[in-house]
Amino acid sequence: MAKEININSIPKEKLALANLGDHIKDQKFDDKPIGYFKDAWRRFCKNKASIVAAIIILLIVVFAVVMPFFDSGTGTEFDTYYAKKTPRNLLLSNIGIATGDVNKDYNERAYILEIAKGIAATVNFENMPSIGEALAQDNPLQPVTNLEKVVQTEQGKNVNNIYYANVDEYLSVGFIYKQVSQEEYAKIVAWQEETGIQVLYPLINTKEYCYSATDANWWYKTDEKGNPLYTNKSGKVKKIEFENVDEVVLEDNYLRYTSGENKGELRYWKYQGGGNTVETAEYQVRVLYYNYYRYTHDGAEPEFLFGTDVSGYDLAQRIAMGLRLSLLFSVCIFAINFILGAMYGAIEGYYGGAPDLIMEFVVYVLSGVPFIVVSTLFQIHLAAKVGAIPSLIFAFVLTGWIGTAGLVRTQFYRFKNQEYVMAARTLGAKDSRIIWKHIFPNTLGTIITSSVLAIPGVIFSESMLTYLGIVNLNSKTSTSLGTVLAQAEGTWTEKPHVMLFPALFISLLMICFNLFGNGLRDAFNPSLRGTEE
């Protein structure tokens, strides 16, 4: 029930006057006045896209700076066996991404070879499992993780099976022959005993029943076509007859001692020359590369968040290097353009007249020089003397400030005849004081915006020049995203990740800088105040 209030008869005890007796004077504002920059900051914060962009830029910077601390040498040392491999991360593989798996199709022979790598990797040399059993076993060293389907194709009389399987690319490298010093051999053996991880595997008898003497993966008896063989009871070697490939039980073809006290035992090393002394003797050994990698990396399994690049570097590390370089360029050029552009524009705009005309002509000539020509000439002339990176920075600086200078100049023309400047001049302020204290702060917003918006261009130009190979910033310890992309050419249709990740990062960086710059521009533009609400 609404209660009506009769204004004319309010009870006296309920009536209290707000301000009795005291004079109401103008009170000071309790909060601080909002200046130009604070206002810009507030408006920038309202722009959600720019905030997100700024956060992403920050994350990219963190990624670029932090990555080297997680580098166990995979970013600066390349590994030809693990080149162009897909992303693999043990943590992420639990949820089904970055497993290091690829889909491959095999014929029968290749399929047996692939599974045989996993069979040989387990140290059990007795009771060889059949192909089917090996696939069913839970073996962490088995390259084939899942057999998807078998397709039969008929070619005339022959029926060929094609096996489509998921294969761990890192395990699929299998075994390799390696030449090590005797000292190194002893180290590996010690490491094996300490960790229980088998690195050294028996050598193969390459004299007979061996399909390839150079490929360390053919450890089982095969005929000259690579079909598996077995020894029957009477000691004759025969081709295995099988209905289904799952039934095949492989027979090893390992090298054994033929004489001496350990006759019949497996041989793990072969003398390869280098003299008879312990220090210099070289052994040939057969190692499982996956475990050998763990041996060389303190037991760490191969993990590459973004996979590996064409030469076998860790792609994540290379991208971080490229990003570092791009960001370094951006910051340098931002700073230099800011300073140069501001000074040049200030002098032009403030003094006007003849200096302005002459300086404008200089700008006109300089802006006529195509950037690509400048960077090429600087590269040819200076790269040998001061290095590729400084000469590229010089090239950027030569014409980069022109845009900023133009903006500053117009701003100076706008402000230099305003009353407050005249007042300052009347009070005896010097030119330098008027320029820097009175007019320049008004131009800051524009300069910052234009300098930020120039950054994506810098990143693009840098990556373009390195992509084309005009500028070469590639070395063991540094690279550029353009080079990473250029190297991926030719292989990336089969291995899209070598192109995808660098392209993704550079696109993301440029999108974010553009969004960030747009946000700044809107924030610093007072005429846009209140238009969004």
Partner: protein, 321 residues
Amino acid sequence: MIKYVFKRILLMLVALFCITTICFVLIRALPMSPPEGATEAQKQQIEDIWNARGYDEPLLVQYGIYLKGIFTEFDFGTSWVIKKTAPAWDLLVGRLLPTVLVNLYSLLFAVPLGILFGIYAAIKKNKWQDHLISVMVILFVSVPSYVYAFLVQYFLYFKLDWFPPVISSLADAGGTWFSWTMFHSMIPPILALSFGQIAGLCRFTRAELTETLTSDYMLLARTKGLTRSQATTRHALKNAMVPILPSILGSFVGILGGSLIIEQIFSIPGVGALYTQSIFSRDYDVFMMDCIFYTAIGLLSGIIIDISYGFIDPRIRMGER
């Protein structure tokens, strides 16, 4: 007006002269050696020609000879590596057609689309269509053109196999740049070039049109009784086109230069490819020619943009104080 045009052209020539001089000095200061792989006799022959043409004189004298060659015989130097003893100018002209074609096609494709999207976004301002277009524009403007090139190659060639990965050679295309095979193989680079142009033009058009749509004369036009579409096409669009048309004209001049990276990825035998080739093979006369060419194009498109304002917008009086 004519006086202004003359003044601008004169200024351009002065600038061109300055830049040419700097480039010439920097390029001729580089050590020159006969191309690798040539026999001793050929090397000796080339060095004899160089000496005869004054390549061993002081730089200033060399520059005099160079300028004299340009003005009297239109001789911009000679290619020593890429195409032995062919005039650099002929080499450049021979490369122009593929570059111009690819860029022209992409521009013809991009300009209408860009303007249409821009108009649509401006009309639907602050509705979801506008927001969608704005997001797409930011994406397409920012992503570098070579990423498009990879995407186009990956999807249209590798996945769908609709187009060849690089453009056809002249022999495959029946000896002409205008055959259907050639055009078909040019579609991937055209697409890769277009995305950025469409997005850029769309953003430009939207910005200009939203400004003119809110101006006072639009209000007047509506009060006069024009429908919204009439007022938009006859008044707003015309005024919005004032800054857009010159920039389109400028980019038509720019098509001569081509894109270095797109020409590399799609192996287009164009001007950009010639530039990279001349650097890598150290064919400095061709490189010099390329520098002049790029500079001239840049300056020319600047002038054309400025002058076209005078023709397009009757309010602008050129060269008047």
